[in-house]
Assembly symmetry: C2
Homo-oligomer: 320 residues x 2
C-alpha cells in the first residue's frame, strides 16, 4: 500500500527502524519452530503483508514511536493474530492463493493449516506475556474472540439472499474493526496515549478497510489484489456491494448465489454489479467511517495527528 | 473417571464447590456467544468432560484450594484451551464422535468447528487477563503453542512405518504434557506453591495420561471411551502400542497403515497388537512416569500431597 510508504517517509526513520525490528522478530518466530512452520507459514506471515496493523501500533504510541521492546512485541502480537486468522480463513475458504502466492492451505493441506494457525495464535499471546500488561492481553484476546465470532457470523450468513447492511457492518466490526482497535489500544497503552479514543479511531478505520477490501474483491484487478475477481461470491460471502446492488437490480436480487460456480460466472456478476451505483455508494460508506474516525482523534502532538490521518486516508485510497 | 470422584470426596466440599463454579462459568461462556456457539460447542465444552485439568489447577493451589475468582478463571482458561484443541482435533481427524456424542465438526461442519475452536482459544486468554499475571499468560500460551506443535508433529509422522519411541514421547509431552504442566503452574501461581516442581509433576502425569489414552484406543471398550476401537490407526496416528508391537511382530512391522481402512480392519489390527506384549509394556511406561511424577512432588502439606498422588494414580487407572 503506497500509504504505508508515505507514512514511513512522513514518520521518519524511527518508524522504519521499528518496522525493521518487527520483520526480524516475525522471521525469528517463523524459523524458531523448525522447518515445518517455515515451509507452511513462511509465505503467509513473513512475506508481502501490508503490515498495516503493526504500523498502527507504532503510530498510536507516538510519532516518533518510543523504540521499546514492549512496543515491538505488541506489534508482533497483533500481526501474529492477523496471520493466524488469514491461515484459518484460507482453510475455510479453501483458498489456493494468498497475496498472490500459494496459501498454507494449498501448500500443506487442511491439517497443517489448522495447526499452523493455532500455533501463530498462541504465539501472539506469548509475545504479549513478555510485557505483562493485563490490559494488553485483554484487548488482544477480545479482538481474537471477535475475529472468530465474525467468522461464525459470516458462515451463518453464507449464500443468504437476505443480509441486512447493519448485520454486514457488525461483521466487519468483528472481523476487522476490533483487531484494528486492539492495534491502536496496544500502541496507546505502551505510549501513554488515550486508549479508548485511539481504539475507537482504529475500529472505524478497520471497518472502512474491510468495506474497501470487499469492493476490491468485485473490482479487482487480480494482479493487484492477488486473488481472482469475485472470490467472495464463489464463497457465498455476501458483502456490501452485493447488498446494495440487490436493492437496485431485481435480477441480482433474484440471483441464487449457489448458482455462481465458476470464475467466469463470478466475473460476470461483478460486471453487472458494477453497472449499478453499488460501488460508489459502498465507497462512500467507507469514506464516512474514515471521516468519523479522524473526527474522534483525541488531542495529541500535531505530527502524530497528521500521520494518523494519513493512515486513515490511506485505508480507502488503495488502488484508486 | 472414578479417580475424580475419589479426589472430590478426599478433597472435600471446597473442591466440589470450585468444580461447581467452573461448570457455571463454562456454561456462561458457552451461552454468552449466542445460539451459534451453544449449538456447536455446547456438546464438547459444557458436557461430559473429565475436567481433570481444572481439578489439577485447584489441587495444585492447595487442599482445600483457596476459593478465589482468580483460581476459577485459571481453571476455566486451561479447560477452554483443552476444549479448543479438541474441537480442532476433530476437524483434523474428521471425527464423528467426541465423548460419545456428535463432534462440533460432525454437527456444524469444518468451518464452524475451526472458528469455534479459535473462539474458545481466544476466550481462554481473556479469562486469564482478568487476573493479570504475566507468568500465567506465558504458561498458558506456551502450552497452547506446544499443543499446535504436537499436532504438526503428529501430522508429519502420520502413516509412518518408522516413528521412534522417543519421538512419540516428545509428541505426548507437546500434545498433553505441557497443558497439564500449565494447569499445575497456574494453580501453584495462585496458591503460592512451588511453580516449577508442580509443573514438572503435571508434565509427567500428562504424558502418562496420553500413553493411557493411546492404550485405550486399542483396548476400548468403545462404550467407555466414546469412540470406536482403533480410531488412531484409521487416522494414521502411530502410537506407543503400535511402535512396541512392531518391534515384536514382523507382520505388524510390515503392515502399511494406509491399507487399514475399515473399522473391522482396525479392530483386527488391535486384536493382533493385543497378542504381543506391547500393551503391558506401554502401561509400564506410563506407570514409570507416574512414579517419577510423584517422586518429584515438592514438600507441601500432607493432605495436598496425598490428594495429588491420588490424581497421579488415577491417570493410569482408568477403566482398569
Amino acid at each position: 500500500m503506497s500509504a504505508v510508504q508515505t507514512v514511513l517517509e512522513a514518520g521518519g526513520s524511527p518508524v522504519s527502524r521499528m518496522m525493521g525490528r518487527l520483520e526480524e522478530r516475525m522471521a525469528a518466530i517463523t524459523s524458531g519452530y523448525g522447518p515445518e512452520l517455515v515451509r507452511h507459514a513462511g509465505e503467509t506471515i513473513a512475506a508481502g503483508g501490508k503490515r498495516l496493523r503493526p504500523l498502527l501500533v507504532f503510530l498510536a504510541a507516538g510519532v516518533p514511536p518510543p523504540e521499546t521492546d514492549g512496543l515491538v512485541r505488541a506489534a508482533v502480537a497483533v500481526e501474529l493474530v492477523h496471520s493466524a486468522s488469514l491461515v484459518h480463513d484460507d482453510v475455510l475458504d479453501r483458498a489456493a492463493l494468498r497475496r498472490g502466492r500459494p496459501s498454507v492451505m494449498a501448500a500443506g493441506g487442511r491439517e497443517q493449516a489448522t495447526a499452523t494457525g493455532d500455533l501463530l495464535f498462541a504465539r501472539a499471546f506469548a509475545e504479549l506475556a513478555g510485557g505483562g500488561s493485563g490490559d494488553a492481553v485483554r484487548s488482544l484476546s477480545h479482538a481474537s474472540t471477535s475475529l472468530a465470532r465474525g467468522e461464525l457470523m459470516q458462515r451463518a450468513d453464507a449464500w443468504s439472499g437476505d443480509v441486512a447492511e447493519s448485520r454486514y457492518l457488525e461483521r466487519c466490526r468483528l472481523k476487522t474493526g476490533v483487531l484494528f482497535r486492539a492495534a491502536c489500544e496496544l500502541g496507546a497503552l505502551e505510549g501513554g496515549g488515550e486508549v479508548d479514543a485511539l481504539g475507537s479511531f482504529g475500529e472505524r478505520i478497520g471497518i472502512a478497510f474491510q468495506i474497501l477490501d470487499d469492493i476490491l474483491d468485485v473490482t479487482g484487478p487480480p494482479e493487484r489484489t492477488g486473488k481472482p475477481q469475485g472470490t467472495d461470491l464463489l464463497d457465498g460471502t455476501v458483502t456490501l456491494p452485493l447488498i446494495l446492488a440487490r436493492e437496485r437490480d431485481p435480477e441480482l436480487a433474484a440471483l441464487d448465489l449457489r448458482s455462481v460456480r465458476t470464475q467466469a460466472q463470478a466475473a460476470e456478476v461483478c460486471r453487472r454489479l458494477g453497472s449499478t451505483a453499488a460501488l460508489p455508494i459502498a465507497r462512500e460508506r467507507a469514506l464516512r467511517r474514515v471521516a468519523d474516525a479522524k473526527a474522534m482523534l483525541p488531542s495529541m502532538p500535531r505530527r502524530q495527528l497528521e500521520v494518523l490521518e494519513l493512515v486513515a486516508d490511506g485505508v480507502v485510497e488503495r488502488y484508486s
